[in-house]
């Protein structure tokens, strides 16, 4: 059954275009999507999922599962980095461990979007408030990453770079991606509440166009991810193993927590995907500032070069299988 889900996922346009991008790199085609075009798609996707999430949040209101789910999601983004840190410290120094841990505590919006498309293709319902969880899970792990450095490394940082909390909180909270996602969510909410006629007028842009734009963007993400692989290889087998095993572990925890929260299967999958995915949008910028001692190629390449493709291709259907098994087995 899982194999079937994986096959269905692999034969969907977004994943196929992702493959097209990665293969382009492996066969050394000169296909490239020059900067800043990928940024256009990334800004568009954040704006569109934010806006649509806001619309649906206004419909559903803040009752029911909204607050517990979002709260638990934030909690997960605070706890997962500790778990990652402990594992990473087996082989890596404090700085690199903290930076990678922060990336895995945070989320990947594109993985989330792909999971949504997967759910839609399976006609499984999910709620708009999950986007709120997504937006709010992006930053907390950054703070934890910093805390980890501060707690573990006092002596290791001789000419102690004074930690500039203000600057880092600012970076974490007002990072462009987080800001646009949250801002669009609020705009969607306000529009649905006060200006319902406009919702219809936004639909062709934020709704209809979305799937195709996602495919185009994943073509680029395929190229980018594949270009990252060599530097991951240089980073060694421990990190390669980590980039596959950690999402699986986080997903397992996520499934159990989702079950405890009594989420529906759609929301459960999104919750799991947020636990299992790692950030390459908000975290790198913050880590560069906070922990310049960490190698950027480590935390960008693990998240982008391996964990991201893994989640997109096999992770999402696998986690869906886990959700199905646990949820149907129990009910």
């Amino acid at each position: 059954m899982n194999t079937n889900l994986i096959l269905q996922n692999v034969l969907s346009p977004p994943v196929l275009f992702f493959f097209l991008g990665t293969i382009a790199v492996f066969v050394k085609s000169d296909l490239e999507i020059p900067a800043p075009l990928p940024k256009l798609f990334s800004l568009y996707l954040l704006l569109a999922i934010g806006f649509k999430g806001g619309l649906e949040l206004e419909q559903s209101g803040f009752g029911g599962q909204v607050v517990p789910t979002v709260g638990t999601a934030i909690l997960m983004s605070l706890l997962i980095p500790f778990l990652c840190f402990i594992i990473l410290r087996l082989k890596l120094d404090v700085f690199n461990s903290a930076a990678i841990a922060a990336a895995y505590g945070s989320i990947s919006a594109v993985t989330f979007i792909t999971a949504e498309s997967f759910l839609e293709s399976q006609s499984i319902h999910f709620d708009g408030f999950m986007v709120a969880a997504l937006a709010l899970m992006e930053s907390p792990a950054i703070i934890v990453g910093l805390l980890l450095v501060k707690l573990s490394s006092n002596k290791q940082r001789p000419n102690a770079k004074k930690i500039r909390w203000r600057a880092i909180l600012h970076e974490a909270m007002l990072n462009g991606s987080v800001y646009l996602l949250l801002g669009s969510l609020i705009i969607g909410f306000l529009t649905a509440a006060h200006n319902p006629a406009s919702v219809q007028k936004m639909e062709p842009f934020t709704g209809k166009l979305f799937y195709g734009a996602e495919c185009f963007f994943l073509l680029d993400m395929g190229i980018v991810a594949a270009q990252r692989l060599p530097s991951l290889k240089r980073a060694g087998s421990f990190l390669i193993g980590f980039a596959i095993a950690m999402p699986l572990l986080n997903a397992t925890i996520g499934v159990l927590v989702a079950k405890a929260l009594d989420l529906g299967p759609g929301n459960a999958l999104l919750f799991v995907v947020m636990c299992a995915s790692a950030s390459y949008l908000a975290v790198p910028a913050a880590m560069r500032m906070t922990v310049p001692e960490a190698k950027s190629s480590y935390y960008i390449s693990t998240a982008l070069g391996l964990t991201f493709p893994f989640n997109i291709v096999v992770g999402i259907p696998l986690y869906m299988g886990m959700v199905n098994t646990l949820f149907i087995g129990a009910s």
Partner: protein, 93 residues
């Protein structure tokens, strides 16, 4: 006169320009979207997508005397985040 070439991450651009202004440079030119490799790091084009930022290349034409002041101002920034600064001779056409 001298020509100063600064290459560093574009994320520090605003701060760098402030430091140059406070050293009272007569002007500067900024070119963004540079990539490269230094002793420690490689900067890829896709880093603009991930928010990590690619490099900025800043050129300053100024009098020799100003160089020390500029150096004092920007050294800490280059030390913390990386980046290079080189000086050549130049004269107005």
């Amino acid at each position: 006169m001298k020509r100063l070439d600064l290459i560093f991450s574009e994320r520090e651009l605003v701060e760098m320009l402030k430091l140059l202004e406070s050293a009272e440079v007569p002007g500067y030119t900024v070119m963004k979207h540079a990539t490269g490799r230094g002793p420690e790091r490689i900067v890829y084009e896709d880093m603009e997508l991930t928010g990590f930022g690619s490099n900025a290349h800043v050129i300053v034409f100024c009098e020799q005397e100003l160089l020390q002041r500029i150096k004092d101002n920007i050294q800490p920034l280059l030390n913390y985040y990386g980046g290079v600064a080189y000086v050549s001779d130049a004269s107005p056409l």
